[in-house]
């Protein structure tokens, strides 16, 4: 597959990168750096993509493995201003957007590895797939997911 095909495939799945990068980047600058690193790592690993998994799953793994092994800023994420940006022009859309942002912010307050587990769960991966992605046992995933959901509920209250 050529560079153009690769970029087209990434573009079709760019939401994965946006979301995961958004969960870990401390600011816009770091978001761009992480995004470019993910893109580069995906491009370098591209020859190893055998097609026996979905491209989106492959990209998801590259994304998580890249972000969590990358040297990131240690400062706390400041996300409050983003909530204020929401325009209440169309109320229902605004509410949905606000809820989504609140969820994203709640997830950002979790431990780094917990963010990876809950995001893959919310993206529809089953416990077996998450266990394989993370490299931990199936029961461990279930226990962790239970705890993480409790934490999110508490944060969102």
């Amino acid at each position: 597959m050529s560079e153009r095909d690769f970029l087209a495939a990434v573009k079709n799945n760019q939401g994965i990168i946006y979301k995961l990068v958004g969960l870990y980047a401390a600011d816009t600058e770091e978001k761009k750096d992480l995004y470019q690193e993910v893109l580069l790592q995906a491009w370098k690993s591209w020859p190893s993509f055998r097609g026996d998994a979905k491209f989106s799953t492959w990209l998801y793994r590259i994304c998580l493995n890249t972000i969590l092994t990358q040297q990131r800023k240690q400062k706390k994420i400041n996300y409050q201003e983003r909530l204020d940006d929401i325009s209440p022009t169309i109320e229902s859309t605004a509410i949905l957007k606000e809820d989504s942002l609140r969820l994203q912010q709640a997830i950002r307050r979790l431990a780094e590895t917990d963010r990876a587990i809950i995001s893959s769960h919310l993206d529809g991966y089953n416990n077996g797939e998450i266990a394989e992605m993370m490299g931990i046992g199936l029961n461990h995933v279930a226990v962790k997911l239970h705890r993480i959901k409790q934490q999110i509920t508490t944060i969102l209250k």
């Binding site: 690193e37 790592q41 609140r102 969820l103």
Partner: protein, 205 residues
């Protein structure tokens, strides 16, 4: 509204900061900032310096006919060659590209282990090379500065004590400097990696 639905909604949103990058990606111009890539670049620089320094040592061995200096420089040369070969082995073994085959835990452990190995090597180099290079440099500098032979220069007890003090001060200093430099560059990252590994590995049921 379910968490899943809220999460899916993020998928549908455009990220203004990143969209601009996606519309004009230039893969060939991108450079990796992965810590392992940085270490690999560092190893390459270390090897280049090591070779340059080894050549200087060989020149000193040829042009300075003091057996004490030759002995120290000879030992330092051997350690330098060892350091170059270790750096080369590490350079070859470090795989900076993130693997899609490994799990997150395995990948974090791989990065963590590679960084620790590199750190230990730097510390070992500081411990093994600096005592001899300090002694060699001290004797060579003293002999040239005083215009006498090393035997004569080193025959004074005060000079012998000064040599011991120099080694006693410089070697731990170099060791701690190597440690400090590593911590400054990668300390926080290594700590975060360690915590994340611990976080995923802990509470296994």
């Amino acid at each position: 509204m379910s968490l899943e639905k809220q999460w899916q909604h993020i998928n549908e949103q455009e990220d203004e900061d990143l969209s601009a990058l996606m519309n004009n990606p230039q893969l060939k111009k991108l450079t990796s900032h992965q810590p392992l890539q940085k270490i690999k670049n560092n190893l390459l620089i270390n090897m280049a310096w090591g070779i340059g320094i080894a050549v200087c040592y060989v020149l000193i061995l040829f042009f300075f006919p003091y057996w004490q200096v030759r002995l120290c420089i000879g030992i330092v040369l051997l350690f330098t060659l060892w350091a170059i070969s270790t750096a080369y082995t590490q350079y070859k073994s470090i795989q900076p590209t993130v693997s899609s085959q490994n799990s997150l835990l395995a990948e974090m452990k791989r990065h963590h282990a590679s960084m620790i190995i590199w750190m230990k090597t730097q510390e070992r180099v500081a411990l093994f090379i600096y005592p001899f290079s300090t002694a060699g440099g001290f004797m060579l500098g003293g002999a040239i500065g005083s215009g006498r032979s090393v035997d004569y220069f080193m025959s004074k007890p005060v000079v012998q004590i000064a040599l011991v003090i120099s080694i006693a001060i410089l070697v731990p200093l170099a060791y701690w400097f190597a440690k400090w430099l590593f911590n400054k560059s990668f300390g926080k990252h290594l700590k975060t990696l360690g915590e994340n590994i611990q976080e995923l590995s802990s509470d296994e049921v």
